[in-house]
Assembly symmetry: C2
């Protein structure tokens, strides 16, 4: 099911703003023109179709990610961006090998799984052990030390479907920290119900952590259906035994890149608005909604701004971050650009798929700045709430800039169906609703243009509170 | 998305029929009682939950299929059926091995595939060749002999979504006969877009044929998303090269079983109504909608009839057929029961999933028989069309009986979403809508009871036209 296509009908509603666009438009009028251009069909789908067709899956540190970097440089050049280049950094790359899991007794059945990102491999031949199943992560945390000795710990807590993605936040710890907590209690391996809002046979991967003082045990995600299957087997009372086989390889100091391109400002080129998405993706899918869409949305928005008869006063910079999923690209970018931090006017990342934006947060006081007085009118046809709560998060890759004091913004997208396929093999181009994606482009183009062509200073408007992280 | 739950609200509408059910009910009244019992919660879900949890995937000829047979015998006994036994026969069993496919150039990407049932393996290391892509099967058939020499032929024709499953019938030849037709034109391997109404990353398998006079080439189904990916790559103009690796093993004379149980008739036990589903399934899923549901629906309907204060006059026999997907169980059943063919009052199979029945066809003239005069009233709350067109198909496993002259019936189920997951890894319990499944049980129980407790003779009513097949 696709979200209702409400955005197109809004063209006419703001016709008055667009009138007289020929000569020297006002900033809000130009923003409205950009918005309507995007709604009429933006370059985003072409960018995303190109990336998913010509590159596909592109985990950080892989050969495919190098092709993605080359694709990004070529694409930004082809679209007319200036100062296009790739900024290298290194990461510890993790690569999946052959994986399998099965119930060996009492009811032999194969299980659909994916190893979590960063998991250690099992010994060759796998680990076969009885499972200790918990219906919630809290239940497992309540299990005493030693109680899981020799067992494969399994947590089948499901995830709530929410518009704001809050359901993901509520369970992410069971993926990120569960292997450590299971190992502390003696477990030999760890499995979770995928962090998914669907109930199908698709497992969803994602990053996990280990702790230095706890044995590293293999960890995998079951498809929601397979987690329910284990629930049903365990409910019958007899001990359930599972064999888990995971292979993987780690490459220290693997190359990675942030790809950068600019629409140079016509008056203050050293004042920069930094927008982007992340170019790396998980390996099972094609990284369409996570985060080819974010790359495409912000690239298309900047491209539309660059196509204006005259550039805005400030520079709009697009960054395609090269290692969001396993971490590293945001901090690499911040480290490389620390020297220009005082010139970062605003930073934000699009990393919630391709569905409709419904809410905007700016730095504290930003919505009260005179330069943005008309922003509400410009965004109204897009049905976006202007939320005066200061933005807390600008996206994982923006945390580094945020920590250095850069003002950040946050567009909230409808995440209701995002977690049906996020991090799974089904993160492919077919999941993308083009009209919704173009609403995103419209929102980014209009807002970023208004900031770029004005002298609004969010740090003067009201000091941002850099996150401690 | 689930179909609207319209059936429950219908209970009260027929309260008059149920009134006075205590003593000697009329046949229609008892049928209505059975219907309402089923709608209130039939044993079908319990049967299906048990099969999918305790056995899971059960391809004919596999060790799992032997467990399924044992499960069937035990389940029918536990439910109180009489004459429970397994009728052995042999098949040529096919078993899937490791499979993989990838685009090797110009845009390297992995492809989600499943080998078709019965495919020969590729050489170890796979077959790597340029693809010849056709957007429709007709296009490939129009290609001249020799034109596919050295190529992997790929057909990406999509399938229409229809309530009656007609869309499947329109494309099934491209799965069943395509490898022969591609090989005739010189192809070294053959791939199709899965016969699926979804556009996701799930490949769907299914049976295929070879011809004695044509080289046997390996054949596989791409997920719909991967078929679209190849369409997009080919549209770019450069030759696309794919590597396909398929392993499989064939076992001649593998054991298989039809599992049988009866509700013996109280007056004419040798007159038999034969209903059932097929117990075998494809290997990637758990065989929930195909065809655990049919097994569960017909078993539950017969169980409800068996629980009546007194059995109907004739015998109701449930058959769990053991090799529908790769063929053999229907003909084995017919061969074993040829001697009693004149006593088969009616035969039908439930093999279209678990969604709502919307249409009934009986043998010619059957709906005009006085014994079924009240059938319309009994089925009305279930919203089933009584179609006077004589039934043409009773299900694959009933074709053998039909060919011997047995009268057949057909309940049409809404197949609108059936082919989203049919023959794929996602054919699991979660796909089943319990209320819809119980509507099926209600329909089967009511109709079969009315036939079993009457003396309606469909061959006297009007001769059936046995299919030539």
């Amino acid at each position: 099911m696709r979200p209702p296509l409400i955005v197109v009908a809004s063209f006419l509603a703001v016709g008055t703003l667009v009138a007289g666009a020929a000569a020297a438009q006002s900033i809000p009028d130009t923003a409205a023109t950009l918005r309507d251009k995007a709604l009429a069909g933006s370059p985003a789908y072409g960018v995303l179709e190109s990336l998913t067709t010509e590159v596909g899956a592109r985990p950080a540190g892989s050969a495919a990610q190098r092709r993605a970097m080359e694709w990004g440089v070529a694409k930004l050049k082809a679209l007319g961006f200036a100062n296009v280049h790739a900024e290298p950094f290194t990461i510890t790359a993790w690569a999946r090998g052959a994986e399998a899991a099965e119930v060996t007794g009492p009811y032999p059945q194969k299980l659909a799984i994916l190893g979590l990102g960063g998991t250690v491999p099992t010994p060759a031949g796998g680990i076969e052990a009885p499972i200790a199943l918990f219906h919630s992560y809290g239940e497992m945390l309540a299990a005493p030390a030693g109680s899981l000795t020799g067992k494969i710990a399994v947590v089948t807590e499901p995830m709530a479907r929410t518009q704001d993605g809050f359901g993901y936040g509520m369970v992410i710890s069971m993926r990120e920290n569960g292997a450590v907590e299971a190992a502390r209690r003696g477990a030999v391996a760890y499995m979770i119900r995928s962090l998914s809002t669907a109930d199908n046979r698709l497992p969803h991967t994602g990053a996990m952590d280990y702790a230095a003082d706890v044995p590293k045990i293999p960890a995998a995600a079951l498809s929601p259906s397979d987690a329910s299957l284990l629930d049903r087997m365990v409910a019958r009372g007899a001990p359930v035994t599972v064999r888990l086989s995971l292979a993987s390889a780690v490459t220290p100091n693997a190359p990675a890149w942030n790809v950068v391109g600019e629409i140079p400002g016509r008056e203050k080129p050293d004042e920069v608005i930094v927008i982007g998405g992340h170019l790396d993706s998980w390996d099972p899918g094609a990284g369409a909604i996570d985060d080819g869409a974010g790359v495409a949305i912000t690239t298309a928005a900047a491209k539309l701004i660059g196509d204006l008869p005259r550039h805005p006063r400030r520079t709009v910079r697009v960054v395609m971050y090269g290692s969001e999923e396993m971490g590293g690209s945001g901090s690499a970018y911040a480290a490389a650009h620390k020297g220009e931090i005082d010139h970062v006017v605003l930073a934000g990342e699009s990393d919630e798929g391709s569905d409709l934006i419904y809410r905007l947060q700016l730095p504290a006081g930003g919505l009260d700045s005179p330069a943005l007085a008309e922003l509400g009118k410009v965004l109204a046809p897009l049905r976006i709430i202007l939320d005066k709560t200061p933005a807390q998060r600008g996206g994982s890759d923006v945390e580094g800039l945020q920590a250095l004091g850069a003002p950040i913004m946050s567009y909230y997208q409808d995440a209701s169906r995002y977690f049906d396929t996020h991090h799974s093999a089904d993160d492919v181009l077919d999941r993308v609703d083009v009209k919704s994606m173009d609403q995103n482009v419209a929102a980014w183009a209009a807002l970023i243009y208004m900031v770029a062509d004005s002298d609004v200073d969010f740090r003067r408007t009201a000091p941002a509170s850099p996150a401690a992280k």
